[in-house]
Symmetry: C2
Subunit: 314 residues, 2 copies
């Protein structure tokens, strides 16, 4: 009912980063694509088979050094239900390899519809008395624009199944300020801060052993001042930090996201890891080892600033 | 690149309502469930087959009197990729029957991730030179919390493929006010109004023949005063209005959503139509005809207040 398993993974691997599995076909080596297309044709099924093979290669190479993966639902849904099947199989494979899996779906709705999303990604679906895991992830990103009604059903499922959610608070993109930075008339704080405050509040229902609840917040690496403000204001809220690398965030930028133990945040990188083989210019059959090299480089870059990560202390 | 096709459907059928296809297993008659489970077992596949059979029955009975359906993604995702396949097949079946299909997914992200969602639901996916429709819907609900970066890629796809989006503005749920009703410090307007204003602005890129752009807004039937405010403030923004019936909105409440021609809004109802057979207590094999009766009742209730709907005038 919290992010304890994620925190334990981070400390065990001394690595507070997560690899985003956002596989575009153009990231995937030709030999893998050709293998899949020969089997299934130039179809959604062929594309999905290539995604899955590619992901498995990456996961095999990083599962001993990276605590978590974050597949982005959009890149699977664009290949139809066949792509969504590859998402389900990717989640299952990563979990089987001991990784913590955050599905980045930014889901949002109200009432029984949120219950359905919670069942889909974090809980179980009931079919005539049988209880079945549909996607079986460990955490899900969600959008809080609809307020408490849109969050409470997630909390129930998280409490029952030891899972967590990350709520969008301050996103990494350039126009995130259009709404999120709006100053509210009363009490003159920003909208993102108001959403952040609610994350802290919602998290009271999902306390964790290490001081962090099961309700985290997405805060972009591209906004270090807001990371600092929110770290101070939300002491029990774990941060998922996108925007590192490709979007411009650097190791110094993300330091304010962590507490004194080196806990409290997980830094996400996708393209830099997935496309490392293209950037390196190495052999395409070496794509997964190149991903590992980049994941290690990123870990070292962050940990050099952060020092030892520990579950002890407060 | 607008909602022209939806508006034409509404006028042709003189019916400004949409049926939400949110099929829980408990809504589905036992004979349909048993048929599917006998074939596929008590599995996600069995559940998905039951959903699809049920939806087809409903669509067959309402396609001549209702202009659009709105499948809610969550109720398919909870049955895994098998459920998502039933969603794709439901979309295809409804379109084949001439209905306008709004996928209610409330998707949101930024940049190339939004491009992926747009390709998935509104455009085409490229696979090695082949261009394939993944879900092929006519419109998608989206969440605007991330600002313009999160909307622009949708607009591009809509412009290329004559599709539209509905942005969450003022949602129908009790706690929607927590963030959406916050008064902004400058210029002292509410957040939902600021999001609404942006819908009007984003829509400039997707003008329509009848005065409504391809960027609509979701505004709940449970908030008639806000419907009135927004109708006046956003003259080129089509409204998708949930919360009718089960959530408490009545015909008088939704009238302010329409313009003088009876255009500008589409009222959504799900449970009342889908479960009409249970409420009526009719034979379960009569479930689709009961849905038709309820859809007609709802149409008549709204149209009695609204009068003739016309594409003429402004």
């Amino acid at each position: 009912m919290s992010f304890d398993r994620l925190l334990e993974n981070i400390v065990q691997k001394q690595n507070p980063t997560v690899v985003g599995l956002d596989p575009k076909l153009s990231y995937i080596p030709a030999y893998l694509r050709e293998e899949s297309m020969q089997k299934y044709g130039k179809t959604l099924e062929g594309a999905a088979a290539a995604l899955l093979a590619y992901n498995k290669g990456i996961i095999d190479e990083i599962c001993d050094i990276v605590p978590a993966v974050k597949p982005q639902a959009a890149y699977y849904e664009m290949y139809g239900w066949q792509g969504v099947r590859a998402l389900a199989e990717t989640v299952a494979y990563a979990r089987q390899k001991g990784m913590f899996v955050i599905v980045d779906g930014k889901r949002n709705d109200i009432g029984s519809t949120v219950e359905a999303y919670a069942a889909a990604y974090l809980g179980n679906t009931e079919v005539e008395g049988e209880s079945i895991e549909a996607f079986g992830a460990d955490a899900l990103t969600v959008n809080g624009y609809l307020g408490t009604d849109g969050i409470t059903p997630f909390l129930k499922t998280c409490a029952a199944s030891d899972k967590g959610i990350f709520v969008l608070v301050k996103t990494s993109n350039p126009s995130s300020g259009e709404f999120q930075d709006q100053k509210l008339h009363v009490p003159y704080e920003s909208l993102y801060r108001a959403v952040g405050n609610m994350c802290q509040h919602w998290g009271l229902d999902l306390p964790g052993k290490y001081g962090y609840s099961g309700v985290g917040a997405v805060v972009g690496a591209t906004y270090p001042a807001q990371l600092q403000e929110l770290r101070k204001a939300l002491p029990n809220t774990m941060f998922l930090v996108p925007g590192y690398g490709a979007q411009g965030g650097a190791a110094d930028d993300v330091l304010p996201a962590f507490d004194k133990r080196g806990l409290g945040a997980v830094i996400s990188s996708s393209r830099a890891v997935l496309c490392a083989w293209q950037k390196e210019g190495c052999s395409e059959t070496d794509y997964a080892k190149a991903a590992r090299r980049e994941a290690l480089r990123m870990r070292d870059e962050v940990v050099a600033k952060l020092g030892i990560i520990s579950l002890e202390g407060e």
